[in-house]
Symmetry: C3
Amino acid sequence: MARMHNPAGLSPIVAGAWRLAEWGWTPQQRLAWIEANLDIGVSSFDHADIYGGYAVESLFGEALALQPALRQRIQLVSKCGIKLVSPARPGHAVKHYDTSAAHVRTSVEQSLRNLRTDHLDLLLIHRPDCLLDPDELADTFEALRREGKVRYFGVSNFTPSQLAPLHRRIALATTQIECSPLHLDPLHDGTLDQCVDLGLRPMIWSPLAGGRVFTGQDERAQRVRGTVQAMAHELGIAPITLISAWLRRHPSQPLPILGSRRIDVAREAMAALNVTLDAQQWYRLWEAAAGREVP
Amino acid sequence: MARMHNPAGLSPIVAGAWRLAEWGWTPQQRLAWIEANLDIGVSSFDHADIYGGYAVESLFGEALALQPALRQRIQLVSKCGIKLVSPARPGHAVKHYDTSAAHVRTSVEQSLRNLRTDHLDLLLIHRPDCLLDPDELADTFEALRREGKVRYFGVSNFTPSQLAPLHRRIALATTQIECSPLHLDPLHDGTLDQCVDLGLRPMIWSPLAGGRVFTGQDERAQRVRGTVQAMAHELGIAPITLISAWLRRHPSQPLPILGSRRIDVAREAMAALNVTLDAQQWYRLWEAAAGREVP
Amino acid sequence: MARMHNPAGLSPIVAGAWRLAEWGWTPQQRLAWIEANLDIGVSSFDHADIYGGYAVESLFGEALALQPALRQRIQLVSKCGIKLVSPARPGHAVKHYDTSAAHVRTSVEQSLRNLRTDHLDLLLIHRPDCLLDPDELADTFEALRREGKVRYFGVSNFTPSQLAPLHRRIALATTQIECSPLHLDPLHDGTLDQCVDLGLRPMIWSPLAGGRVFTGQDERAQRVRGTVQAMAHELGIAPITLISAWLRRHPSQPLPILGSRRIDVAREAMAALNVTLDAQQWYRLWEAAAGREVP
């Protein structure tokens, strides 16, 4: 078994708060969602400064404040580095990235205030910034760690050549990447090879391709959907369980992020912990996803 | 001269047994082919579990059993990791890969029985398996080595990012890749750069592009053929000698595999040991192959 | 601030001698150009054996001989490795590369004679040669350094996988690459990531895309030109100053090469030393160059 690490102690399935602002919930409803996730073993919550137009972290923090003792049972993940053109940031005229010490520090302080916590368990750089200075950023990360504000650090959407210089300067805990039966690139472009090599368990965003696995009308989505449904039926599991098991089967031991308001989605994903696909099953879905058999 | 290694002691030209089952030979004819190769210095024989629909290894082993003393004069190379849909493997419903400890071990034991030998000189993982766990595989390789069943290990058709994690865990002896005047990719995509960097002498499959160098009717094949014939004529050597010399000229010191029933093909390839192309000659053929001069 | 190195002591802007032969100047005019560059802080001069059909180095050396004391105030950069089909080299029938010990040594000796100097400050391999043997080349570089003929070494137009094997054998001082608002590839393909990681400050050729930033009629060039002019106007600087500041803003701390006969071009580039773009400004030009906002 590959020697993979999960230093930030993330749960096997992570709850994505991306769309929390769209759900129109009261603080009590948000708290109930947090508790329902915790009840089924989903204890890590994925945020970013920009989610919901810079609004999601505060909505979550407001709910958490109703039950502060929950904080010690959950892992809070946030991100920074993107500067959106947004009514909430009138100084931004062009969407851009900023991974300077000043911005990372300002963003973390704001995330802590919004989430009503004294520390993040994990901070990710949201996108690869052409201007990223790995020496400066590693120094910033070290300082934030010393001050107790952030426990672990990672990146998101970085190529291997973008991740490596930073990881050589400060040990990263994870990288968050897109992967699904409709997005196979990281299986073949070196991204997941690097994760295995370095022992970094990746977090997976859009594991259901933003729902297109179930709703897409193109030929590829239909083909994938047919195979997912057939295999799930044969195995007596839910389609989301199958896809989660398929992702988790990779030797990098990925951590899928599910961002649904319906707790059943998280429950079906968690059920993948009891399913291990064999190689032939895994490649059956890969073949449907790639549209061809392996060479 | 680049410090390249050939720990498995492969001969400069390797005999490919890929098509052995198609030749319809008696055991005595197969033995004669083995001996004829040996007579001209081709002492390494390239196999895979799947060649000939899982049949070639047995045919070779049957011939070798007629003259067991040959075993100590030859190097036996085999591969595993591909599971074909085949009458010989009724359990396979989907072509897939499997590099688990269980399958690698089972496949090696079967190769030893088929080839009627107590050890392989070299075992290659045939294709890059998305599910390859380099920690587990390195452990498996170490165990097979300790048990005396396999002396050296390598991979085939791996990208640099797929090879590196495994090589970091256990020193590989070679990588087998496709390269020819009609397949220049490894010269430019980092594959051969990595070989030079790590000192791995690559084995080259399809050095004549499956014969298309001599038979292809597309514009590129015709252009290459014209240049090969002109240069071979000027140098007073056979076209196969020229192409072999062209491949061997790379600083990674490649080991071409020729898979013909005609011993003249291997002889003409071996004649490349007495030919050293200069840089201008080498780029003359590259220019014909690429269809443009160098930048 | 990224820990970048500039061991050869190159000036922040480098003067490119590429077109020197086309300017039709007298030795005195060439000397005046050298002195005018020096007067504004441009002390490094970029050559290659092949520039001007193997003629530029001699023209420069002839001018330098008029004022030999200048030698100690300037850095001479040259390159080798390309063999042009040229009346000056009747033995070349095919444009090709040669990075053998014999050719590198011969080319350096010729560059020293042409430039009328006893040493080069920096020697670059001009193009990635498929036949490059990093062990042999590192030995050649070491010998040239010991003999006092070349102080520092680098490469040009190499991919990361081509640079790494050589750099592992002998510490390189720089890599010279093409980059401009009309050529963004090195920002995203790992080339500049590697520079940052290894601390190599890259030299940048064609920072104005061979003038196309100012003259190109395609949609992309027009869009870039519009943004360059608007931003330069807003900042009260010259367009060349803006583009130079944009390139220099990358954490690899690039050294742009300007190859104009007009000293104003070099002066405007040097003015970039007093301009620091913020992240939003930098991405504004990136967005115009890429034709889309960042993801």
